[in-house]
Symmetry: C2
Subunit: 330 residues, 2 copies
């Protein structure tokens, strides 16, 4: 099977590529070739199958990014929350026009006996509103509080309609906040959620801008990758018209994250400074903090591991690389 | 105040223009000028204020369609259900790219002390699924069963986000099936809903393709115009982030419509032939047949009149013009 990863140079895109290389197959079918597409060409990992790396603009998607015979497209390319808020046209161009370009690339493929390509789309918890008090049910309506979430929710509608028309076969995963992300603390409002765990593990200080009781809906990179691969291989007949999946993430408080950190690395949380920042709390506080996700486990999406396991997985998978990246930068 | 009607040559666009001409004001403020925009230029009605008529493509909206100083934009221009289903690119171009063009025209206006322009958008009952058994609540999620509905729901998300950002101030009215529409029976699946009332009033036969117990969510043209004008003048502070309005329409069965017809014009329903068409029933049967609309009456949207009054209003407002149009055509 041929697979394309749009956003193949991103954090999750690279992890999916690495899993496909390691497994050599998806859902029991051998991978024959893989195309990575991103703004900057991704390094092509050595593999037992052909890997091509393309660079370009998603909204002007070249035909060879999704070549004839493509079985699965991971559509992970996005302008994320703070960037889409800062630059309306850029967010719209990538998050909406880019999704239209994916639809068009799929509907122009020669018809195949195997049916239209599966498109696995990363939607987001930000496509919902609700805030700290919310427990989002599987049939909740999406009332996003930022342009990124609005564009993701609109893209879901476009992909569901394209599925109904038979242009493609979409599964939209509303991913929780992924922790622990590598990289430095940045201007994103949710940056602290990873930073309060990652920085102490690197021996560095971090700042907690919200109260200990503040809750966040999170998932680990490992679980996100498992879910994306399951979405690529599952039988979509069970989805019917409803192509949006709230995966079974984890609702955790900042205090619980720090307590779990101390269990894995005793006293590490002493490196975290509590410095309330109402501006950060206002933004992150608009996102729903919990979901009642009952449909996704029934559809085979694996339940989330605990916090201690999530932290240990970062140590096993990403800590060394994160440390090396930091050392290499000024 | 300056007002623009996009889709100013359509059925509802002409009725709104006529009301503005008759009233000379909107929400107590005198109208100073009116721009009508449509694919084909609308005839400019004689008025006490300046009326300009422009022709063009909504997706390439010219800057003078929404000139500086515009207070209200009625965004009624659309590729409707059967056409958007038949031509995917045309539907997307007008229903989505066209809405983006409205957003861009509004956000490029010079800032005004009066705030951004009000945009009154006609969304649709087709943006929901559910079918005959459904009673759609005010916080129901939109899971449309056709491209038109998907494009309307996505446009609502884009307009709500543009409102949050302060580019414009949107109210999206999910209009029921408007009856009685003038014109001939056509290929639209919902054509029969108007035809079974209109044709007998013209002394012509009509066909009912669904059982007498089949329910439809409808509104009269008079009520639709009232709602659109109220949406243009209301205080949107009460809406908060939720810019979508399910107006208080009427859930009626085909049998009840025919009984009301006979009350207004005795025995007229004898001109209606019952000829079940499962294909029509399948399409119209996917739309929700009833809403529990409690928010819109609380926001000042007037409750719907009864069926007999709806039929009498067509006789008073549109029957003569419809008869003349028919006579003028081959």
């Amino acid at each position: 099977m041929h697979i394309t990863i749009l956003g193949g140079n991103g954090f999750l895109g690279r992890k999916i590529a690495a899993r496909l290389v390691a497994d050599g197959a998806l859902g029991g079918t051998p991978v024959s070739s893989l195309t990575l597409f991103d703004l900057a060409a991704a390094p092509a990992p050595p593999a037992s199958f052909l890997v091509r790396s393309l660079a370009g603009d998603l909204a002007e998607l070249p035909a060879d990014a999704i070549p004839p015979g493509t079985s699965v497209v991971f559509h992970l390319a996005a302008v994320v929350s703070s960037a889409a808020e800062a630059d309306y046209e850029l967010g719209r161009r990538v998050n909406l026009r880019g999704t239209d370009a994916v639809v068009d690339a799929c509907r122009r493929l020669p018809r195949s006996d195997a049916g239209p390509p599966r498109v696995v789309f990363t939607s987001s918890v930000a496509s919902f509103g609700g805030g700290q008090g919310a427990v989002v049910t599987d049939d909740a309506r999406q009332m996003p509080g930022n342009s990124y979430g609005a564009q993701k929710a609109a893209a879901e509608l476009i992909l569901a309609d394209a599925s109904r028309r038979g242009f493609l076969d979409a599964v939209s995963l509303r991913l929780p906040t992924v922790v622990i992300r590598p990289g430095r603390p940045n201007a994103a409002a949710s940056s602290f959620v990873s930073a309060i765990l990652r920085e102490p593990l690197l021996g560095l200080r971090a700042t907690l801008p919200v109260p200990d009781g503040f809750a966040v809906w999170v998932c680990s990179p490992r679980r996100a990758v498992d879910w994306l691969l399951h979405a690529a291989a599952m039988d979509t007949a069970a989805l019917g018209a409803d192509r949006g999946i709230n995966p079974p993430g984890l609702s955790v408080t900042a205090g619980a994250m720090l307590a779990a950190l101390d269990k894995v690395r005793p006293d590490a949380s002493a490196l975290v400074d509590r410095r309330p920042d109402p501006a950060v709390a206002a933004i992150v506080g608009a996102w729903p903090a919990a979901f009642a996700a009952t449909r996704s486990p029934a559809l085979g999406f694996t339940r989330h591991e605990g916090l201690a396991e999530l932290i240990q997985a970062f140590i096993d998978d990403d800590l060394d690389a994160t440390r090396q990246d930091r050392a290499a930068l000024p």
